[in-house]
């Protein structure tokens, strides 16, 4: 068991470093893209929500608020779209060598998590520079991130096998992610009267809601997140992670023949 786990970790480490190397090879700005991308979308959303649709004005340093949501969202959507195709893209490899296949979707998640971590460090520096001094709640952010990574991995494991049976899954993901983005408190906050009350109680059921609120309140407000956020994050991440493992393990032998 322990040996299998260490083999999995070794493999993941290699796959992640491959992933990061390949992603930024031959690009001039290289590694800085992990920062530039959220910055560009931040600029776009800032203009849209402070100049065109005016709601962001009430939030202090709205651009920074956007980033505290966009960075975890980019991690989430990036992991999902990459890992959905991960088994299919590696079908020849899967059919010619045995290795723990779960490492393929997991490595996509891990590579995106490295990006998230690095960009959060830069963001935190910017937040401090603009006077958003962190509270002690920053100390629990790693816990929230870990749970978030588990939740994302669970979803990614499921999607990677479902996409073998139905290629529609990867198509559907593009559309679904767009809807999911607006249904999650990424670019708007909950509990501040911006969202109608009836709708807000529905939005709180979204697996990402608790997490996004945690990121906003810890990073942007420097405050302790509300208890429901923690309850949501813990329940969803445990459920989705173990469900993901169960689905993957059950489907794995059949999926290999299916590829």
């Amino acid at each position: 068991m322990l040996r299998r786990l260490s083999r999995l970790l070794l493999l993941m480490q290699s796959l992640v470093s491959k992933e990061l190397k390949v992603r930024y090879k031959r690009s001039v700005l290289g590694f800085f893209w992990f920062l530039l991308k959220p910055l560009f979308s931040m600029v776009v959303y800032t203009i849209v929500f402070t100049q065109i649709i005016r709601f962001g004005g009430e939030i202090r340093h709205f651009s920074l608020f956007l980033l505290t949501g966009l960075l975890p969202w980019n991690f989430f959507s990036g992991s999902l779209s990459a890992s959905t195709k991960s088994l299919l893209d590696n079908h020849r490899l899967i059919r010619s060598v045995y290795f723990p296949r779960v490492s393929l979707p997991m490595a996509n998640v891990a590579a995106n998590a490295v990006n998230l971590l690095l960009s959060l460090i830069v963001l935190e520096t910017a937040l401090i520079a603009f006077g958003h001094t962190p509270g002690f709640s920053l100390l629990v952010l790693p816990v929230a991130m870990l749970m978030f990574i588990l939740m994302t991995s669970g979803i990614c494991m499921m999607l990677s096998v479902w996409n073998i049976y139905y290629r529609d899954v990867s198509q559907l993901m593009d559309v679904l992610l767009l809807a999911w983005f607006y249904a999650s408190p990424v670019i708007y906050p909950l509990g501040r009267g911006i969202v109608p009350e009836g709708l807000e109680s529905v939005l709180r059921l979204n697996p990402l809601s608790g997490l996004m609120e945690i990121f906003h309140s810890i990073l942007h407000q420097g405050a302790w997140p509300e208890p429901w956020c923690w309850a949501s994050l813990i329940v969803w991440s445990v459920v989705l992670f173990f469900l993901g493992i169960a689905v993957f393990r059950r489907a794995e032998p059949a999926v290999v023949k299916e590829l």
Binding site: L10, K21, V22, I94, V97, F99, Y165, Y166
Partner: protein, 400 residues
């Protein structure tokens, strides 16, 4: 726990699901909820297969296409899980099923070696130790820091083979991949695999090349339709397999056909005995000598020409077929005309009437220049023995 290198199948069956219509989509599945038509059929690729291989044994698996040979290898590699039964293969496995498949084109040779090592469960430290020998064997020392997308397909395969066999495997799974690189590298691969024999490593070799199987393996398993037909010594199993599979062609006469691009062709061929007298009857120990006038209509010098010959029973069943490439004799080179002499020294075990065919090909360029199928009727004299013929030696001598 059985010793490393032990391989066994215990009542193993494996089913594939065959979709009769591969366009499986969400929509169709949705529609099928209402009108249930099953388009899925179970296909039993292996049916209750049992065998046990001791560490250090070299076992060949033969059988027609679709017999379950590759499925067997994939089960042993751990890629598939059996539908029922128990598969055991103890120790580190090196699978030569699809060489270089884990390579990422953007990564360098060395980076790919580390990545593939991780796939096989070897850490960076171990791979760092192995890297020089991998580079050396594949003859790619100067190219290890170049992205493999710039590699030729030969270099790619060489690195793949070298890597797969360098990881000190206990079980080596080979699926007809010995066609790696040029002739000299093929020999090197072959030598390395032969070198694994007698070192306690188990070799499972799937091939259609009976010659290679009988050279490499001490035991042969014949599969057909997912079942073991025969399991025993190579002579016995290959003998029965070959005679069984070629039996269907036993009625009627065979066509003396002549085909090919004829860019390089036989202008005239004379079959004679060693003293220069045209002959069709040969006694044991008397070589069959073929004088061939070969002409080429290709511009410039054409090299790498393979001159092959085959012997068949009157019903067309092949008893022997080989060429200068396979026997590691020099390949032919022709400007516009060449006289070549082929001398075949047979050990005759089954005297009788035979048909001899000749061919000029270039497998490297995928060219069939000129085939003379079943062209020459030859009588081999002597006492009847068990094997029809055994090749003792073949020689090609060329004069411009």
């Amino acid at each position: 726990m059985p010793a490393r290198g032990t391989v066994s199948f215990e009542g193993v069956s494996l089913d594939y699901r065959l979709y009769h219509d591969r366009t499986v989509s969400l929509m169709e599945t949705f529609l099928n909820l209402f009108n249930r038509r099953t388009r899925v059929e179970l296909f039993r690729a292996l049916d209750d297969v049992t065998f046990r291989v001791q560490p250090g044994q070299s076992v060949g698996i033969v059988g027609p296409n679709g017999a379950g040979k590759s499925t067997t290898l994939k089960l042993l590699a751990g890629i598939y899980r059996p539908t029922s039964g128990v598969v055991e293969s103890v120790g580190r496995k090196a699978s030569l099923l699809d060489l270089g498949v884990g390579f990422h084109p953007e990564l360098t040779g060395a980076e790919n070696v580390f990545l593939n090592g991780a796939l096989l469960g070897l850490d960076r430290q171990r791979m760092r130790e192995l890297l020089p020998s991998i580079a050396e064997f594949s003859e790619l020392e100067r190219f290890m820091d170049i992205p493999v997308k710039y590699f030729s397909s030969g270099m790619f395969m060489r690195l793949g083979f070298s890597l797969a066999t360098s990881v000190d495997p206990d079980v080596l799974l080979i699926d007809e991949v010995l066609a790696v690189g040029d002739a000299s590298f093929q020999q090197k691969c072959y030598d390395r695999i032969m070198g694994f024999q007698g070192t306690g490593r188990t070799i499972i070799f799937v091939s259609h090349d009976m010659e290679a199987v009988s050279r490499l393996c001490e035991r042969v398993i014949w599969l057909n339709d997912g079942r073991v037909v025969m399991d025993g010594g190579p002579d016995e199993v290959i003998g029965s397999y070959v005679s069984q599979t070629s039996r269907p062609a036993s009625t009627g006469t065979v066509d003396r056909s002549e085909w090919g691009t004829r860019e390089v062709r036989f202008e005239s061929v004379e079959v004679r005995n060693e003293s220069g007298v045209p002959s069709r009857r040969f006694r044991p120990g008397q070589p069959i000598v073929v004088d061939a006038d070969i002409v080429s209509s290709l511009r410039g010098t054409t090299d790498g020409i393979v001159f092959g010959f085959s012997l068949h029973r009157p019903d067309g069943q092949t008893v022997l077929g080989t060429n200068n490439l396979e026997l590691n004799r020099p390949l032919l080179k022709v400007d516009d005309r060449l006289k070549a002499t082929l001398s075949i020294d047979l050990q005759i075990a089954e005297p009788g009437e035979y048909l001899m065919g000749l061919a000029l090909t270039d497998p490297a360029r995928n060219r069939d220049y000129h085939w003379l199928d079943y062209r020459f009727r030859i009588t081999l004299l002597g006492e009847r023995k068990e094997r029809p013929v055994v090749l003792r030696q073949a020689k090609w001598e060329c004069r411009e």
